[in-house]
Structure formats: structure tokens, C-alpha cells
Symmetry: C2
């Protein structure tokens, strides 16, 4: 029997996936499960996007250009200009989700065994993409006590080696909800310029900035044209996770020319989803205002309810729709499994994402979970109540 590759063996499994059989067990017992684990918003997709695929008159579902259709890229450039980011369609490659944009960025700037510095906790799939690309993540730890602010610059510089090619941030952050300030972006800009590195920013949650703070993109920072690569996606912006449309944006011509070669190899991003995504760009601002009001309400409710639980720590998120919660348990993997397998309040329980998978430093974050507040307020209140009751009786 031929062998699986070492790369394949090293590919991490999704931290949530391990819990799926226990969730199925809970369903089979008739339990209601509140899903605090997922990043799939319950917000409706803009009707304008869904309608666009219903009214087209295509006879042949053909390839588009590998970099995405001209019309769509032109409209994306317009979208950015409304966010004070001046780019043209030539700086954009449409990708199959933010996922593919990350793979193209990794492939374009790093070789096997090169290193990328990422503040942790970070989006768990960065582990998968780095393994698939053969590169090594070097984590710099951000702390719940500091609300997950950017670690001091000295901490980054300590980690830079000749193999370091890039720094990657997620802004606002999944799983922390942290929103980097202009000053923090300027600090990162200074390091990447000093050490000749790329700065990759995953800005898929750009719109989800709360408390009147404005998101500051790395593409707004002057002097960073050769360094900045933005990863973007329609998934969360328009509640279109299933579209699988994202993009890679950079003013560095060599980066775009190289990413285009990866794009050409896979021919085209999905055509129907590009039609929907292009239409989604006409979504009125009122949609975002409503969505953001809803998330702020949910966040406020969630955080105030969580803070009533003794021994629990939470960093108030300023963006996205996640937060990291530190629990008075030893191992949140075991706790999450136990919640599904052995606990309920009147037939109801919760599913949470153990936070270990969001760290690459071994043993860090084991007493933390990620909560996604993509449920209605009344469900969040019930879910936190269940968590509170669970912690009263759980023993590890």
C-alpha cells in the first residue's frame, strides 16, 4: 500500500471537526445545540446578490478570465475607493474565497521552509495553508490580558531570521475580534520596511468595526506599496460564505504577476458566484448599518452575560464577530466534548470551539474557547446561561 505524504500527515484537522461526532450524538438524543462554534453568519444574504444569479441569461456557464472578470474587478476597485483605498483593477486578482488568496500569497512570496510571523491566537486554517505551502509559522503571542493588542515590536524583531519572508495579521481578528489601530499598523509598516518583508493583512472583516472606530487598512499606509498584500472575501461582508469569492490585492506588480500564474493554473474563479458578488457590491449602506447594529447588540449582550460568570476572562472584541474566552477549566477540548456528550439544561446544550487550534505554540490556549456571536440575542443569553450552569458542575 503506497504511503500518504508527510505533508498530508502533518495537515492539521479542524479543531471543530473533532467535535462533530459528539454534536451528532447530542442531536440523536434530541438535544438542542446552540452553535457558538461557527463562523457562518445567520444574517440574510443581500437579495440583490441572490437575484443576480436568477435573472442572468447565460447559455454556457463559461470560464471567466483567471484574474476575474473585468467588470467585477472594476467594481471592486470602486468599492475600495469608497473605503479610501486607491487601487485599480490591475491590482486585484479574484480568488476562490479568501482561502485561495492566502494560498496564492503564500506561494508567491515564500518557498519551502521559509517563515511567516503571525500574532497568535490566529485563524486556525493559517496552519493548514502553511502546511500545504510547506512554510513555517512563527507565532508571536498576543495576550488576553492585553485584549490581544499587537505584541511589542521587539517581540517581532527577536523572531526575524534570514528565512522570514512575511508578517501576517488578521484585522479585525478571527478569533480575537481585535481591531488594530493606525499606530499599530504604522509600527508593522516600519518593521517590514526595515527588514524587507511582505505584510499580508487578512481584512475580510473590514466592515465589522465597532464603537465608532474606523478600520485602517495596510493599503492606506503610505510607502507600503511594495510590501502590502491584502486578502479579502465576500463571505462575511455579504453573508455569502458559500459563494467562495475573495481577492488578493497588492500594488506590487511582481506579486500580482506571480499570483496570476497560480490563478492561471486553476483557470478561473467560479462564474456564478462572481455574478452574485458583483451584484452584492450594490448593497446599500443601510444593510451594513443594520448588520453592524445587530452585531454590536449581540456583542454587548454576550460580553455582559459572560462577565457574570465567575472565574471567566473575556477580551471585549472591537470588530468581527468572535471573542476568545478563558475558562476555569484545564482543557477546553475535553470541556467542549463533555458539553455535547454529557450535559444539558432542559435538553439544551452549547457547542464551542476549543481555542488550542488557534495557537501554534504547543500547550497555549488550552483553557480558552472561541465564541462566534452569530446567533440572535435571546439564543446567546440562553447559551451563556448553559455555559454558566455547566461550569458549576464540570470537573476536570
Amino acid at each position: 500500500m503506497p504511503n500518504i505524504s508527510n505533508k498530508g500527515l502533518s495537515m492539521p484537522q479542524s479543531p471543530i471537526r473533532k467535535l462533530v461526532p459528539y454534536a451528532e450524538l447530542a442531536y440523536s438524543k434530541g438535544k438542542t445545540v446552540y452553535h457558538l462554534n461557527i463562523g457562518q453568519p445567520d444574517i440574510k444574504t443581500p437579495q440583490i446578490a441572490m437575484d443576480a444569479v436568477k435573472v442572468h441569461s447565460l447559455d454556457i456557464l463559461a470560464y471567466t478570465r483567471s484574474e476575474g472578470s473585468d467588470e467585477y474587478r472594476t467594481k471592486i476597485a470602486n468599492y475600495y475607493s469608497k473605503h479610501d483605498i486607491n487601487i485599480t483593477k490591475h491590482d486585484i486578482i479574484v480568488t476562490t474565497g479568501g482561502s485561495e488568496a492566502l494560498l496564492f500569497a503564500f506561494g508567491s512570496v515564500m518557498d519551502t521552509d521559509d517563515e511567516i510571523i503571525i500574532p497568535e491566537p490566529f485563524y486556525a486554517n493559517y496552519n493548514g495553508f502553511s502546511t500545504a505551502s510547506g512554510v513555517k509559522i512563527v507565532p508571536v503571542i498576543s495576550k488576553i490580558e492585553d485584549n490581544f493588542a499587537l505584541p511589542p515590536i521587539e517581540e517581532f524583531e527577536k523572531l526575524i531570521t534570514p528565512k522570514t519572508k512575511a508578517i501576517l495579521i488578521c484585522n479585525p481578528g478571527n478569533p480575537t475580534g481585535y481591531l488594530y489601530s493606525k499606530e499599530e499598523i504604522k509600527k508593522l509598516a516600519a518593521i517590514v520596511k526595515k527588514h524587507d518583508l511582505f505584510l499580508i493583512a487578512d481584512e475580510v472583516y473590514r466592515e465589522f468595526a465597532y464603537d465608532g472606530i474606523k478600520h485602517y487598512s495596510i493599503l492606506q499606509e503610505e510607502g507600503l506599496d511594495e510590501h502590502a498584500i491584502v486578502i479579502d472575501s465576500v463571505s462575511k461582508r455579504y453573508s455569502m460564505c458559500g459563494a467562495r469569492i475573495g481577492c488578493l490585492v497588492s500594488r506590487n506588480k511582481a506579486v500580482i504577476a506571480t499570483a496570476l500564474k497560480f490563478a492561471q493554473a486553476r483557470l478561473s474563479p467560479p462564474t456564478l458566484a462572481q455574478i452574485a458578488s458583483e451584484a452584492a457590491l450594490d448593497t446599500p449602506q443601510s444593510y451594513f448599518d443594520d448588520v453592524i447594529n445587530e452585531y454590536v447588540k449581540r456583542r454587548n449582550t454576550l460580553i455582559s452575560e459572560l462577565k457574570k460568570i465567575e472565574g471567566l476572562k473575556v477580551a471585549t472584541p472591537k470588530g468581527a464577530f468572535y471573542c476568545i474566552v478563558e475558562l476555569p477549566v484545564k482543557n477546553s477540548d475535553d470541556f467542549a466534548q463533555w458539553l455535547l456528550e454529557s450535559f444539558d439544561v432542559n435538553g439544551e446544550t452549547v457547542m464551542v470551539a476549543p481555542a488550542g487550534g488557534f495557537y501554534s505554540s504547543p500547550g497555549v490556549g488550552l483553557n480558552q474557547i472561541r465564541i462566534a456571536y452569530v446567533l440572535k440575542e435571546e439564543s446567546l443569553i440562553k447559551a451563556v446561561h448553559i455555559l454558566k450552569e455547566a461550569l458549576k458542575v464540570y470537573q476536570d
Copy 2:
């Protein structure tokens, strides 16, 4: 300025892409260009597939399971059983096109610097996927004189090293149109079993088998369960290239479990396109009968017209919709450019794909082109006439 990766620099550019500016020049001069270069069929997508995305009642365009929806995978398994291939939904991972299935297969069975043997000429993007995956293609040459039949087994065995992990075939072949016989598949099965290798077969053109010959899948060959990995796609089958839906199929549980980890990292294949692809599986056999009749007519016309040109060699394809043509020119890259830049017959010219990009052996295939017969018969006749006139005057 930070540097692009060596991997990025090594990514091949599409052989056709280089010609695009010359095609645009031809358009700008008002020339009509017959596109013999592309693999985008002009056949209509089945109405049933296009209608499916128009009548759905989704409120949220959500992720599906990473391996594809249960309903779709169940229907794919039924499709295979109609082709005498017994598999279940558990043997299938739905991918974003055949392209992603290839990337998952490469990642699951090969590490950096591992080797894969591929009969050449081969689908040009295998070069891109192997560069992206950090693996090395070892070509075994099939010849136009042999109609591109499987090279002798000794030729494969000579190339096997401890680094060799897999053999990849495309059946029927792009760019050759070659359809492997049952006996050839059995020979390949014997080698991969003897040397403990994977056998990856790109069978995206399965339905396009002509002259009454039945396609024989590696999944029909007994004793190959641990070795066989099939790459499939809806792109050509239903003229749905823009859907970007394919799948990876294997009875090897470790391969599926590993490919699933790559699939989880990118979350989900496109949801709308899965809806269309699931509906496409209900396409009646009459659609294929019509399509295949059409391709056979086109092939017959194309080949008989081509054979009228002196000094030209062509291997009659038995499947897919491509053929390789050897021309009395030194360099088909230059010739293809000249056709667009400097030649026309009454304002009409042709665009062809130079075949150099379908070989990884340097200097091989430079006097060959690939023709895709995805145009109507009358256009093919005109296009070949232009080619004939061009060869009369071209000097290299």
C-alpha cells in the same frame, strides 16, 4: 523591495497567455480570429443545471460541508454506478474544479522534491500544479507516430526512483485525444502495484469516447483500491467550465481522510455551483448522444481537412476534443504569433496553442500545436483553410 519566491518565479505561464496581446492586436485591426486554442466548449450547458440556480429558495448563501453536500455526493456515486464504477459518497470529495482535486491529490501523496511520472505531451497546467506543490514531473515520452499510445512499460520502469510516488495519466487525453485501452490500464496497474505507487487518472473527458470504444476507468480495474485516485470535473461533461466543480475519488480511506484535511482548510466548494452540478446529473443521455455526435462530426471534418495539408502530421483522437498536429515549421510559438500578428485570409486568421507548453522535456514538441475542435464544422473548415494558406507563405 522584498523578493518573490523561487516557487513563484518558477511557476510556468500559460502557453496561450503569451499570445493574448497578439490576439488583441488582431481584433483591434478588425480581423476575425477562429479560436482553435481553447478548451471552452461552445456546447450549451444543460438547461436543467442553469434552471436549478434560478429556482432555489436560499436566504443565506452558506458553506456546504468541506467534502461537498451529502445529496450531491450521493448523486455522484449513482452517476459512477451507471458507468460500472462502484463507489459510495464516502469515497468522494467535491472540489473546486478538477484543478483543486489535482492539488489535493498531489498534496496528499507527495512531499517536496518527490517525483510523479506523466506521459507527455500532457495538460499544461500539470506543470503549474507540480510547481505549486513543490514536486517534480518526470516525463515519459509518447509519440505522435504511435498515435500517443502508452509508452512501453520498460520506459516507465527506467524512470522509477525512491522519490517516485505516483503515475498520472489523462484519459482521454488533453492535448492528445488519446483513449487508453483496458490492456494499457492493466499494464499501468501492474507497475503501480509492483512499485507501490499511486495511479492518478484525470478522467474529466470520460464521456467523450468515440468510435464505439468504451472508456475504461482505473476505478474499474480490480485490486487497485489502494492505488487509484480519480480526478473528475463537470467542466467539460456539461459544458460548465465556469462552475468550478470537480471531485477526487478514491477507495483508499487514508487518501480521502488526508484530502479532506486540505478540503477543510479551504472550508467549502462553491455552493451555487454545487446546486447546478447536482441538477446537471439529471441531464438525459440524449444530451450526451447529441454532443458526442457533434464532436465526432467535427473531429472527422477537422482530421480529413488537416490531412489535405502537405507536410502536416496528425494523430487521430479517439476521445476528448483535442488533437496534436505536427507542422512543417521550426517553432510553433513564433508561427502562432505570426498568424495573429501578420497573417489573414480575407481578414480572417486562427489562434492555435503552441504545443511546447504541453511537454516538460525541453525542446520537444516545438513544431507541434494543439487544436481544440470546439467550433462548428463550417468554422473548422475555414480555420484549416487559413492554416493551409498560412503554411504556404510562412518562413521560419
